[in-house]
Symmetry: D2
Subunit: 159 residues, 4 copies
């Protein structure tokens, strides 16, 4: 499998976003560095720990859209993950600076998907690509329609 | 998405395996309980932490096949994960006893896949299903043919 | 700092316990192996991940004493940690088999302490020693007297 | 146990530091927010995960002092932790913004200690206090004198 051809360029309206000049789409991004705590004995990040970076990308996207996840929850909505996937192209090593790129992929009546691409912040090399699929539920775990605020964020996501 | 119809029954030759009477295939299994350390604030296991259980299933399968992973590595072979996926059907809660079922799915010249199903050990309910795809490499990270011992374990896996 | 002189011998009445023939005290023990997930890039267990092993020791001690932690909680008692400490003597490496030894150290009106010693299961070498100090609280987080069942387990702990 | 009386004020020379107007000492600080990945089923951060925040404080202090840990290691020095301790005063909850304060405590021929205090970034409440004690070793794990660059950082730490 080959890494996607991903070439982010500055997004004119907002420094927290970039536009992929290949695919044409806008992505949110946030930076992070690898800690010892993230690595395993191979020296690189343990495969499961990438999902921590994805979580950071997702909650930062929501916060930067003006509506922190904690508030969504206060409104009675929960978004458990019911499917995820990840392709690894290159190792992410200790102390490496990374950009975590996140965007909405698809909104359906009771589910919402996020896509992620992590690049090395200095070389720009694409290190991995993944997704998470979330189900909107109420506090009792019953599937419900995606809440209006999340729909609004989705609809207002830069294009 | 619906959980697979998975009905494990004792495997006559070896207590460390079960046969799925629906799908017909043999799976290795190992038990484990959920710790506080595995959970997040929802009360259930954090989505990334399931991969720890999958790792336990995979290394225990190899060990129970007579060839611990550490020895594979001593022979100069490494099996980094380059793709994974996971479907969640039901939450795995604190202190829940689980069975981690693992089997080889496919062996190709330089890759090997494992499938996983976690069930609640008391109710038998299928909680999640996932896979990991590994690439055989030498110590320098170059793809190589899957080592003969792993091929042997694959070929001798109960059917 | 030097590792304690710890020489566990079989405890006649119950295989889940050992007696330290040096210090004279009885310890509960449970075995475990190191996973990739526990290690960091040094190849050994990341310093914070030892507390997972201590948690396993503590909950297994309680379960083996006939009263799982989940039941203590169902009775309305919570035991958050408010102090801990750890001395490392030797690295705990990937795939190493270990014995996690746990015992009650002290019971006071609203607090309870546990001591831990982890040894290499094959060589017997003492790898680390630690403690956790817990405060009994009700569900609202208010300090309360240690619950009678935990007091009973403490008083009946083998001597 | 009571939380220390810690009242950080701006440090005139550098925004990455604060001066504790009670104790009089200068501390480095870095901000962070709690993720789902950090929490356990109590809703607050799992006790072992605080050490990740301490690691972030320590490596950021070193980086901000002009000498990233990766370079120290390239010079052949490793600083494994051989003792640590932590006092918890208040829970650190999901999404809470925190300040991680770090400072050198003591430098001896072959060891170096760091102190940490985490406060809630909005309320200023002291949530926990801890320390880590590191031993200078060469790549083979033999204790050696603390490397000259680390000694320099120690000696130039703001007072």
């Amino acid at each position: 499998m080959r890494a996607p051809d991903f070439q982010p360029a500055p997004y004119e309206h907002d420094a927290r976003f970039v536009r992929d000049t290949k695919g044409g789409m806008v992505w949110h991004r946030v930076g992070q560095r690898v800690l010892f705590a993230d690595t395993d004995r191979t020296g690189a990040v343990y495969h499961a720990n990438y999902f921590r970076f994805f979580e950071l990308g997702r909650v930062t996207l929501l916060r930067d859209s003006g509506f922190p996840l904690r508030q969504v929850e206060a409104d009675g909505f929960v978004y458990p993950i019911f499917q995820l996937g990840l392709d690894y192209f290159r190792p992410l090593d200790y102390d490496d600076p990374m950009w975590i790129h996140t965007r909405f992929r698809e909104l359906r009546p009771v589910t919402i998907d996020f896509d992620y691409i992590i690049t090395h912040a200095e070389t720009g090399v694409v290190l991995c690509r993944g997704f998470t699929r979330h189900c909107a539920t109420n506090r009792k775990g019953r599937p419900v329609a995606v809440d209006p605020v999340t729909v609004g964020i989705f609809n207002n996501f830069p294009v």
